[in-house]
Symmetry: C4
């Protein structure tokens, strides 16, 4: 099977998932006497979670493109591992709404942040699993032959790219704000050109 | 008409349907004194239904790709039968939310599970109908000429692939959990490489 | 501008609109003592409206493909008229939910049915306007040169295709069920091969 | 990286965002004794906001096509600036629902209109930033070599195209209706052929 329709389907799922994030931004529920401006400002965690999730999904999309771009064609195992990856990406809008709803509450914030970072962690593991499968089990389906050293280097970068998500998930027990800050820093790091060629999928 | 835009449209509908599944995962309604962690754990049927529906739609997509990939071009009848298939796929997010909402309730679980598996059953029948139409009525539109024996073998596999959905629908009368287990087992079966080349659409 | 990206964007909007229809199918609100089976059966207008709207949007998509397929390239006016057409298609999920909610109620059913058929009528007019513009103002952008007689014949068919929507809108004043029946009959008519090559966009 | 998948992904996000606008059109909440017709007429700001946002997003899409169409290939910086642009487009459904909900209310209308036009303003700035980056920093990635004068002229048009959004945002403090009227006038202006070749992205 050619990679064209795999890319089209993955692009579709990722594009829908990234755009559904906006459905988490509801009109503010105004308390008695509260102005709209105040109500909008009050729900800042919603916007912060939107931006972090949007940029992170966008970076996943770029990395996905690089990963699949190495393939000449696909097979059943690649399609299924890609499906698992898409399944985890599909969960991000839910995880985002959970974090946005609980970040500011006294109770539940730690759990919500743990689930939020945890979904990204599972996504990163699904990504590395697929990339590892392509690089080491499906070399015959790749466009260009890479040396074993090169392939190990790519996978090592991938593995290092998973660590911040482990950290963000673990530190949710300390502070939900800390988790969000790590995720935001990570998105910013990948967004800058200097980081191009570093991290998951590269 | 070329198959390119048919594939693009079908990919779009399937990608949206699979991604809309996440909208069924709401924030948990916490009872008094209930923790978020407990509330999240309590709604496990929502996650189970998400995973089963996501993987099953993903497998439909793969099979759809194989089926349409045999065609050189399409005609009005193929477009309409494909539309009916998409109509049934479009119902899956609703069926999924129904099962997720009622699986754990004493009353209604059987009906919900029957509707859930029933929607997949109707989808499978629409799939077989389209594939049968292509294989036996539109051989002149196919890329490669298949022997009658080969075409009968494909259709026989399709027909066998429908049976588990009949079973899952019928056994909803016994237990909703049993229906979900059959659907989950079916998704897992198709997901493994050993099953590649077996089942609906192949 | 090439027609490729116009088709991709239109396919995307139509695919999302057709798949959003399922969001109109909510879990039934069960009255005290009402079973789930009864509640599901009770909301049959929701399913009827889903099927009619889904098939009709699918047929619009086929006709859109035929219309744009005649073009070698597009220009600003075609893009804008196409945007207006997409705007009307985008309204169909709302019109569908309105009809589904009010079909069975004593009051409001006529208005809801009028709005429902009216949205399709406006869509049909937007379609004919675009097709007329292409056939008579943008002949230099078409792939194949059609005779004036042929172009008039296409447009005449288009105009005739608008009439049932006028009828369905007008008869909403008599009965909302009648409107739905006309829309259902129209969808069924176009769905059958005999009607291929007849109606809007052909 | 080729521009093909960038276009496919951007088309997907924009197509989903434009189609999600319809989710802002809810069934009217009828007061006691209020007819459906009256309730539907009463929520005219919802329709006005739908039309203005739909047409404006459509025009963004056309301009995006022109902008990316100048590129032979893309790089990391272009992908990231494009992602920021998509992030702002993704916010439009929220901004639209905010304006629609508050336009007719005594209090909050100014803030809602300011946020509405402000989101479009930020979107326009993201657009100009990306176009400026392409025209002046990535000339080596462009298909056709443009003279410096030509590139400056394109950017000057872009900058002028931002001004109406500044105006619409500022005048929200005077009247929310005025903001909507400016946005509507702007959409109408770009929609007419005479304005082709003028404005952002051109």
């Amino acid at each position: 099977m050619s990679t064209r329709r795999l890319e089209a389907f993955s692009d579709g799922v990722i594009a829908v998932a990234i755009t559904l994030l906006v459905l988490n931004i509801d009109l503010p529920d105004l308390g008695p006497g509260e102005t709209l401006g105040h109500g909008l400002a009050d729900q800042w965690p919603v916007y912060a979670a939107y931006v972090v999730s949007f940029v992170t999904i966008g970076i996943i999309w770029i990395n996905h493109h690089v990963m699949i771009g190495r393939l000449r064609e696909t097979d059943h195992a690649i399609l299924m591992l890609n499906l698992v990856l898409l399944l985890t990406i599909g969960l991000i809008p839910f995880a985002t709404s959970l974090l946005a709803a609980y970040l500011n509450r006294g109770t539940g914030a730690h759990v919500a942040a743990g689930v939020y970072a945890g979904v990204f962690l599972v996504m990163a593991i699904a990504f590395v699993t697929l990339n590892r499968h392509i690089l080491f089990r499906k070399t015959h389906l790749m466009k260009v032959e890479l040396t074993a050293a090169h392939r190990r280097r790519i996978l090592a970068r991938d593995a290092i790219g998973v660590l911040p998500y482990v950290l963000a998930t673990a530190l949710a027990a300390v502070s939900a704000y800390l988790t969000l800050a790590i995720m935001a820093g990570l998105a910013a790091y990948y967004a800058f050109p200097a980081a191009a060629g570093v991290g998951i999928g590269d």
